[in-house]
């Protein structure tokens, strides 16, 4: 049960932003502009970074929902998502994306862990300033979302089908603040 009185049966962050829409609106705006707005990284790649960071934080709700969104957005290449979450170095993805996932994994632990050589490695494989910036900010943002969702012990569905539906919605509609209806 959640640590605060949220609506029963509403999963994860949705229950929290419905409890406090005054802050929730900005959380959804940030997710939308960061994961769907202008970026040199594809929407699928950005969802993959979000799922990877959430997996490292063991946030089941965020990991499952963003992995589902990434699978939806990767379309016929959706199998890469589970390989990345298992062992990204062995995944059939570009060396650039591998280097960015290394940076994201370090940000998940602490920002100070990102070293000049990590950034150098990403640049060597073609990453530009914005790739690096967006990777760090996505990893930092999910360090926030994961703590929000688990810190208040929000409801985490266990049925994989529930996440598949979320993934379709997130892929199709992006991030729209849910309202009580």
């Amino acid at each position: 049960m959640a640590h605060i009185q949220v609506t029963e049966g509403i999963p994860g962050i949705r229950s929290l932003v419905m409890f406090r829409p005054e802050s929730g609106q900005y959380l959804y705006e940030l997710a939308q502009v960061l994961l769907r707005g202008d970026s040199p990284l594809s929407e699928a790649e950005r969802e993959l970074i979000a799922a990877y960071v959430s997996s490292r934080n063991e946030c089941m709700f965020c990991m499952s929902s963003h992995a589902a969104a990434a699978r939806y957005l990767f379309k016929d290449k959706k199998h890469v998502v589970d390989i990345v979450l298992d062992d990204y170095q062995s995944a059939p993805i570009s060396n650039k994306l591998k280097a960015l996932l290394t940076i994201a994994g370090k940000v998940q632990i602490n920002g100070k862990n990102v070293l000049p050589q990590d950034v150098e490695e990403a640049r060597k494989h073609g990453a530009g300033d914005r790739d690096i910036h967006d990777t760090v900010l996505i990893a930092a943002t999910f360090s926030m979302f994961n703590r929000y969702v688990d810190g208040l012990a929000s409801f985490t569905p266990t049925d994989p089908k529930a996440y598949e539906e979320m993934g379709v919605r997130m892929g199709e509609n992006g991030y729209v603040l849910p309202t009580k209806s």
Partner: protein, 185 residues
């Protein structure tokens, strides 16, 4: 040196928020609401939450900035130092001790928040909204600390810098309407 080119006259978070303004806007609005918006916690108390989390993450820029902001809003410098050393013995209310304990658990992981620490906060009179806002402020600084250090932004050594910054952020977190060119030396 930062990992990406940022305006040299804007160390720490400000250079990042100016680098990409479309993501900066919801981050600024969220911070303004959580730290300066209507609340049963004072702005000074909320800055103490930001300070404890930034200190736990060893983020020099954020720790110095929010310590200075807390000091300015509280009108003294002892409480911010005390909460960084030991929450249990700091000169704050029992409710604030319980909320700062929750914040320091969030700093480690959302999963580190225990039912007992939530129960303690409720026993000391914390409302659901205060608990919610404490967790979200702590989570927001998990973002800020990683953004600031993950891109290796500059943390000025001069304490006068943070005093000046505290003057500005004690008034609010929104982008200045005139921008920041006046800070160029």
């Amino acid at each position: 040196m930062p990992h990406i080119p940022l305006e040299e006259h804007l160390p720490g978070i400000t250079g990042l928020l100016e680098y990409k303004k479309d993501t900066a806007e919801p981050i600024r609005k969220l911070t303004q609401f959580l730290l300066r918006g209507p609340s049963t916690l004072t702005a000074g108390e909320r800055e103490l939450i930001a300070t404890v989390v930034s200190n736990g993450n060893e983020c020099t820029f954020c720790t110095n900035a929010h310590t200075a902001a807390a000091d300015k809003l509280l009108g003294e410098c002892d409480t911010s130092q005390a909460v960084k050393k030991n929450i249990a013995t700091a000169p704050v209310s029992e409710k604030m001790k319980a909320l700062l304990t929750i914040a320091s658990q969030v700093q480690k992981s959302g999963k580190a928040v225990t039912a007992q620490s939530i129960q303690k906060a409720k026993e000391e009179g914390a409302t659901d909204i205060e608990i919610h806002d404490t967790v979200l402020i702590a989570a927001l600084f998990a973002l800020y600390n990683r953004y600031v250090d993950g891109l290796s932004t500059v943390a000025p050594a001069d304490p006068a810098f943070y005093k000046g910054l505290a003057e500005r952020i004690s008034k609010g977190y929104m982008r200045l309407p005139q921008g920041y060119d006046h800070l160029k030396k």
